[in-house]
Amino acid sequence: MTELMEDAIRQFNICNACRYCEGYCAVWDAIERQPSFLTSDMKYYSNLCHDCRECYYVCPYTDDHEFKLNIPKVLSELRLETYSENIWPRFAKKFLDHPIASWGTVASISIIFTFGLAVFLSGVKFLVSPSMLSEQIIPDPYFKVLSLLLYAYVIIIWSVEGMKYWHSIKKPGRKITLRYFLLGLKDAFQHKYFGGGGAGCNYPGEKGTTTRLVFHAMLLGGFILDLATILFYPDMGRVIVWSYTAGAAAMFLGSSFLLAFKPSSNQLLMATAMKQNDYPFTTAMMLTGLTGILFPIVSGTLLYSYFFLIHVALIAAIFLMAPYSKFLHPVFRVVSLAANRSEAESFTFEGS
């Protein structure tokens, strides 16, 4: 057992003897179902934690006490370890270790490739002509095939990684069926645990707010809206364009605010390596949102082709990086939420 894991279990033993945090998030109900903790439990809790930080600010045993509890930090450290352990194929773990370089490289290659592809398919005209349509730059069949390939790639690798993670947290009483999976998905989309049980999320400061709830929901909502809208491509009707732009705007605003809050949030409550993974991922989302808003606006000008291609390239980069970056978090989060649903259903509390 690693030192980190030992310390996490030490901290959680103290938590389980206290249980004052019951009700803040799923973690605190989940620990009450165990008399003691295994590494599988800790991995599960690390991805069940939504980092609302309530449990730090209301704890009488934090840094100024000899117990030195810092649950948000130890869970963020473990969470990153679960990403690292379950990345498949294994060599891709390097992306997580060097997030800024990886994102930079992949995004650059993606942009070069996209422009190269455009030149290959449609010649260099789009570089100088202001009146191109997007499907004249990358013809529809190519766009569709490449998109589907990327979707398939992400879904396959995410599934492998999700299964690997699931096997690392599995134990009697914790199971995933289609029903629990859908319930977990529902909890994730509804942002069920972003409210701190009514007290808000202590982020970025030490007071309860709805900041993260609002901006995370915007980012997720915008991303889903754009994914759905892009299925209609190359239909560029008014409704399609508007809803795509709205999705991009939501992504841009959500990720911009999440990015802006991070530096001013309490740095003592998160793993440095996790933070280094958060920044490039959220930045990629933010730039995708920004170019998504801009390219319809500059339609009819020379800039249109550039923004469109950069936008498409960024999306491709996000998909390429999805299995090896912070973007793993929805997968492990949903698996944990599903497991939590199954546990909660089979468990009855024996009160004293």
Partner: protein, 472 residues
């Protein structure tokens, strides 16, 4: 509010003789400060802890008891007589029946008032079902409550000095004249129109405790705040305040000996005792582990262990009992043999083996009588001391051990007050000196403890003290 250095104290207009000074930083102090501020007074609060450790023993609470009809906060009604009877049952003896009744009757509006001051209550409670009807639970426990109250206090314009201790309350002819505040940088006299002392008991003052408990004090752990040194209490007594409550009165439970010397709070308690056996350092049992029912049994073991050699004892269970009690903050000491357990924990193995052998032999009687070992009815009466409930032989390895110490939560002896929370001196009521919370809980309780009642006393008398102090 930011912690001002002592040099900043001048900026705080400390000569302001119109202000109410509140000594302490827990629930009672905050209730007093907020009420005084809402009544229109300027308030200066003085907390001896640094900001991250503020809040005294309130940090270690999670629920409050109050008298009520059926309501939205709890699982049913809890009327005066039942409340009063519960109080008598656990404390054995109430110091002042009228004060107890007064406290209970003034508790009815507590949850509404708390809610109005930013407290969020829990909708569902998984554990502690026995308190669901009588007590209301707040989200996040005591520190969440403290944080909400400090936020409110700040909004009300209350100034708080952290890391500042009131070392001397100056009273002349029953009239408050000023208070000496001490920080790391020095001392300073501060005036006000009145003072509310809500600084808790003296459980963290080893010197004071040793005048009562002698050498035993060395073996105590303090579950309560390390800042509860009782200096303001001592100062009030020196200024002529009458005392209330037994100096030995307090709440002392069995805690894990591996816990911290101070601020163990809720997590170091060991409630495995009724299921297994408890021996002292000589390897001998010394009290009926299954004697009483919760919640009283919880509170007797601290004093029992305090009477043992070196103030040490050891709770032992076997693998059949492991899941019957609350999880513990520290993992138990484990061994497959009883000898191994005694060696690891460092007590008399020879006697211990004999004790266990004798204890386990009683199991034959249960089998004959057809009683399920470990059940409430399972008793062993042919051993000394007997085990009156939950008897079950300790025989299935691995064995688990928890080293025990007496853990002092709080002390009861404080200053005598009247219904206006005014401190009573030998010569009568002090004009503008008030007390609330643990420092005056000895007016109501002598020993024992009723879950969630400390906050009741603090909230009832804190609000009264704040109002009275403001009206001077």
């Amino acid at each position: 509010m930011r912690l001002p250095a002592i040099s900043d104290l001048k900026m705080l207009d400390i000569s302001n003789s119109d202000q109410v000074i509140v000594i302490g930083g827990g629930n009672a102090a905050l209730c007093a400060a907020m009420t005084a501020a809402e009544s229109g007074s300027e308030v200066l609060m003085v907390e001896s802890a640094p900001k991250p450790l503020r809040g005294g023993n309130t940090k270690y609470t999670r629920d409050i008891r109050y008298m009520h009809d059926e309501d939205v906060f709890t699982g049913g009604s809890y009327q005066f007589q039942e409340f009063f009877d519960d109080l008598l049952k656990v404390s054995g003896e109430v110091t002042d029946l009228q004060m107890a009744e007064f406290t209970i009757r003034n508790s009815t509006d507590i949850p509404q008032w708390m809610s109005d001051h930013g407290i969020i209550f829990k909708k569902e409670i998984q554990g502690t079902l026995s308190l669901k009807r009588t007590n209301v639970f707040f989200m996040g426990g005591g520190k969440a409550l403290i944080n909400s109250y400090y936020d409110r206090a700040e909004k009300l314009g209350i100034r708080t000095l952290y890391e500042t201790t009131a070392t001397k309350v100056l009273v002349s002819d029953g009239v408050f004249e000023g208070v000496i505040l001490k920080t790391q940088k020095g001392e300073m006299k501060v005036r006000g129109k009145s003072i509310v002392v809500a600084s808790g008991g003296f459980e963290a003052n080893a010197e004071w405790l040793s005048t009562i408990w002698g050498e035993k004090t060395d073996g105590f752990q303090v579950r309560g705040s390390r800042f509860n040194t009782g200096l303001p209490l001592k100062s009030l007594i020196n200024a002529g305040a009458q005392t209330a409550g037994d100096p030995r009165g307090g709440h002392m439970v069995a805690v894990d000996a591996r816990g911290p010397k101070f601020d163990g709070g809720i997590v170091t308690r060991i409630d495995a005792i009724p299921w297994g056996i408890v021996v002292n350092i000589d390897g001998m049992r010394f009290y009926d582990e299954g004697e009483d029912l919760w919640p009283k049994r919880y509170a007797i073991w601290g004093k029992l262990i305090a009477e043992q050699k070196d103030q040490k004892a050891f709770a032992i269970v076997d693998s059949t009992m492991r899941r019957k009690y609350m999880p513990t903050a520290f993992e138990p000491i484990v061994s497959d043999t009883l000898e191994g357990l005694a060696a690891k924990a460092g007590f008399n193995a020879e006697n211990f083996i004999r004790t266990i052998k004798q204890y386990n032999e009683s199991a034959m009687d249960l089998v004959k009588a057809g009683i399920q070992p470990g059940s409430f009815e399972a008793s062993a009466n042919n051993i000394v001391p007997k085990k009156s409930h939950f008897y079950s032989p300790v025989q299935k390895p691995p064995f688990f051990l928890y080293p025990l110490r007496p853990g002092l939560t709080f002390t009861y002896m404080g200053v005598k007050v009247d219904r206006d929370a005014a401190v009573i001196s030998q010569r009568g009521k002090m004009r503008n000196v008030f007390a609330a919370g643990e420092i005056m809980s000895g007016n109501i309780l002598r020993s024992g403890y009723l879950a969630g009642f400390g906050l009741t006393i603090g909230t009832v008398f804190g609000r009264i003290a704040g109002k009275e102090a403001s009206s001077i």
